[in-house]
């Protein structure tokens, strides 16, 4: 019998203004690398990373969206399949912080109602260029009842922590049947079906 490479599949989505570092955050997490050259994402891309949480192998399929308004129609069509959404802003870019409410509205409009949300203030290594105080990020996150991290893809600060926390939050509300140790596949199927019932009913 073929051995399955993972127990659960979580679909995550990265959104936020253009240039805040969504692709870099993802690249740091998936490949543990950083690239300073800015290449604007065209429409939508994804990366896969398998992590282990609570003894379960969880395959994270992470969708990386273009922040530019011109790709809006393409990117919003990917909101619906997401179980977790990371909203990223740049602590050195006031506009990207002001736009958080716009992005949250996009989530309300296009994503599943029970989608797990998280706010990231990226580029926190650039303290000399900081415009958005950490407290303001914490405040807006508190107001919307979502988790918040300041991250740096460049300095590798809080990146893995953010992804793992989001995955844990999703795992917590994923109904999983007690795994029958001899047959992992049934529990997996049950888990995903359970999630489907929850989100689509």
């Amino acid at each position: 019998m073929a051995k399955k490479t993972y127990d659960l599949l979580f679909k995550l989505l990265l959104i936020g203004d253009s240039g805040v570092g969504k692709t870099c955050v993802l690249f740091r997490f998936s490949d543990d690398a950083f690239n300073t050259t800015f290449i604007s994402t065209i429409g939508i891309d994804f990366k896969i990373k398998t992590v282990e949480l609570q003894g379960k192998k969880i395959k994270l399929q992470i969708w990386d969206t273009a922040g530019q308004e011109r790709f809006h129609t393409i990117t919003t069509s990917y909101y619906r399949g997401a179980m977790g959404i990371m909203l990223v802003y740049d602590i050195s870019n006031a506009k990207s912080f002001e736009n958080i409410s716009k992005w949250l509205r996009n989530i309300d409009e296009h994503a599943n109602e029970d989608v797990e949300r998280m706010l990231l203030g990226n580029k926190c290594d650039m303290e000399d260029k900081r415009i958005v105080p950490k407290a303001k990020g914490e405040q807006i996150a508190r107001e919307h009842g979502i988790r918040f991290f300041e991250t740096s893809a460049k300095a590798n600060i809080n990146i893995e922590k953010a992804f793992l926390t989001l995955a844990e939050d999703i795992l917590r509300k994923t109904p999983v049947k007690e795994p029958n140790s001899e047959n992992v596949d049934i529990s997996t199927g049950g888990g995903v079906t359970g999630w489907k019932t929850k989100c689509c009913s």
Partner: protein, 183 residues
């Protein structure tokens, strides 16, 4: 008394006719009226001429008035057009002379936009699907190489599908696989 001198001394008589104002016409009428009074004292037969002159002066007044109004109107219209022209020229240099929310495309520009959003969407979907299949194939190859998997086996679960179908499809595939594996 000193009408003669006054008559030739009125500046309105010396003016360019096209620059006359209604006030000038009134000045002229005043002077002519004074002269006529002197004449009428001499003989009553001039009264008919007097009326004709008054009538001509009235016509003169209307014409000067109308002329000046028309001139003012034309000036205003000219200024409006000048303004409009300036605006259009400025817009033209900004590249959207064809109106707001429109963009002029240079057909000679090799980098000009020429694909629709729908086409881009389809290409991206296909790219992402192929990428997902490659990742799966790599994963399987790895398992195969490491000897965990005895033989290559169909494993088509979870290609990142078109967004609206994501959940449905992955479940279908999962069910498929579960069945296969149960056998």
């Amino acid at each position: 008394v000193e009408g003669r001198e006054e008559g030739s001394g009125v500046p309105a008589f010396e003016k360019d006719p096209l620059e006359l104002t209604v006030e000038d016409v009134y000045d002229i009428s005043y002077v002519i009226g004074k002269d006529l009074l002197k004449v009428s004292r001499v003989g009553a037969e001039v009264s008919d001429l007097q009326f004709k002159i008054v009538r001509v002066l009235e016509m003169f007044e209307i014409m000067v008035n109308r002329y000046n109004l028309s001139l003012e109107e034309l000036r205003m219209e000219r200024d409006n057009w000048k303004e409009e022209l300036g605006r259009v020229v400025a817009e033209g240099s900004n590249g959207n002379i064809i109106g707001p929310d429109k963009l002029v495309i240079d057909l000679k520009d090799p980098n000009r936009p020429r694909f629709t959003m729908q086409e881009l969407k389809e290409v991206l979907q296909e790219r992402n699907q192929l990428k997902a299949q490659l990742l799966l194939a790599q994963e399987e190859l790895q398992l195969y190489k490491s000897g965990v998997m005895p033989q290559p086996q169909q494993n088509m679960e979870n290609p990142p599908s078109d967004p609206p179908l994501t959940t449905e499809e992955s479940i279908e595939h999962k069910d498929e696989k579960t069945t296969i594996q149960k056998l």
